[in-house]
């Protein structure tokens, strides 16, 4: 039986509420509109931002290919994971999907097993193609086929060997 341990449960004073007050009228729609407008202005930069993230991924891939160790694998994982989150925010959902597949491959494959460079390259190349062609439509047939193929190959790689 578990030993009785003291559990201290307490509510700190809500200093944040005291500081900013408000809340009576629900969400501030004017602030939301301002923020949506500001984001729309930023959207013209999203393509360049993703281009820089893709460069980081390509550099991480090159580093892993040259020295496939824990550090380079970690850098590749971070680059893929960053793109997964950022591409979705920057309106490149298919790039996010491919980067998510690459993150899954690196994250779920036991560290004792080396990454297949051809499969890593498949992902990196797909991300470059989708970016170069500016594909932002999730219904794009070519990109969908590419994503499905990569998903299947990752699934196959991660499947326990009999």
């Amino acid at each position: 039986m578990a030993r009785q341990q003291p559990i201290e449960l307490f509510m700190p004073p809500n200093m944040l509420k005291a500081k900013v007050g408000g809340g009576l009228g629900g969400v501030d729609m004017a602030a939301m509109k301002r923020a949506e407008g500001a984001l729309d202005t930023l959207k013209s930069e999203f393509g360049d931002w993703i281009a820089e993230d893709v460069k980081v991924l390509i550099a991480a891939r090159a580093r892993y290919a040259k020295t496939p160790d824990e550090a380079s694998r970690g850098a590749l994982m971070r680059a893929a994971h960053d793109i997964k989150g950022q591409a979705a925010t920057f309106n490149f959902p298919l790039i996010a999907r491919v980067a998510g597949s690459l993150s899954r491959l690196i994250g779920e494959l036991p560290e004792s097993q080396p990454l297949s460079l051809s499969l890593v390259d498949g992902h990196v190349n797909a991300i470059q193609v989708i970016h170069r062609q500016g594909i932002q439509d999730t219904n794009d047939k070519m990109a969908q086929t590419l994503c499905a193929e990569l998903d299947a190959r990752v699934e196959e790689t991660l499947k326990p060997k009999k």
Binding site: L16, G21, E36, L39
Partner: protein, 169 residues
């Protein structure tokens, strides 16, 4: 009009990606937040945190060196922390439930699963203002209560695996 005085809020934005910081800061500024600090790593964030003592942190999870999770653990438990109760909103590309549990167990208050949107940013900000969670101190954990509801009703022994293990030692 919500009447929140976001201009009184001091926010620290931590992300190793400059573009993501710019995006988050743009949204916060549009909300009316004027006091915004930023850091591009967990280590730098720890320094800025101690210098500026922000009211809220918006924090990325995956960063080289000190991760967002490690930073939250320091904020909650280090004797040098300027405020162990500071609300942390974690930005993450992780969406698996195990990752959410891991972050919650480290002491994260709210999550924003990427893609980041204006709506989710506002809702998480309002959540930390309007619905703060009680805090729990046990032998193995300090931070926001990990149960969303009913935690204040529980008066029994610790049942979490790590707590039981410590009790047995």
């Amino acid at each position: 009009m919500s009447g929140y005085r976001f201009d009184r809020l001091k926010v620290l934005v931590v992300d190793d990606n400059a573009h993501m910081r710019k995006l988050v800061i743009t949204i916060l500024q549009a909300f009316g937040v004027t006091q915004i600090h930023e850091a591009d790593s967990g280590q730098r964030a720890w320094t800025v945190l101690r210098e500026s003592n922000p009211d809220v942190l918006v924090l990325d999870w995956v960063m080289e060196g000190m991760s967002g999770i490690e930073l939250v653990q320091m904020i909650r438990t280090s004797p040098q922390t300027p405020n162990p109760f500071v609300p942390v909103i974690m930005l993450t590309g992780h969406t698996h439930i195990d990752h959410v549990r891991q972050a919650r167990d480290a002491g994260v208050n709210e999550f924003i699963a990427k893609p980041v949107s204006v709506k989710t940013m506002m809702s998480r900000l309002v959540a930390v203002i309007e619905h703060p969670r009680p805090y729990v101190r046990t032998s193995a954990y300090f931070g926001p209560c990990r149960r969303r509801r009913g935690a204040d009703e529980y008066r029994g022994p610790e049942r979490r695996a790590e707590s039981k293990q410590q009790a047995a030692e």
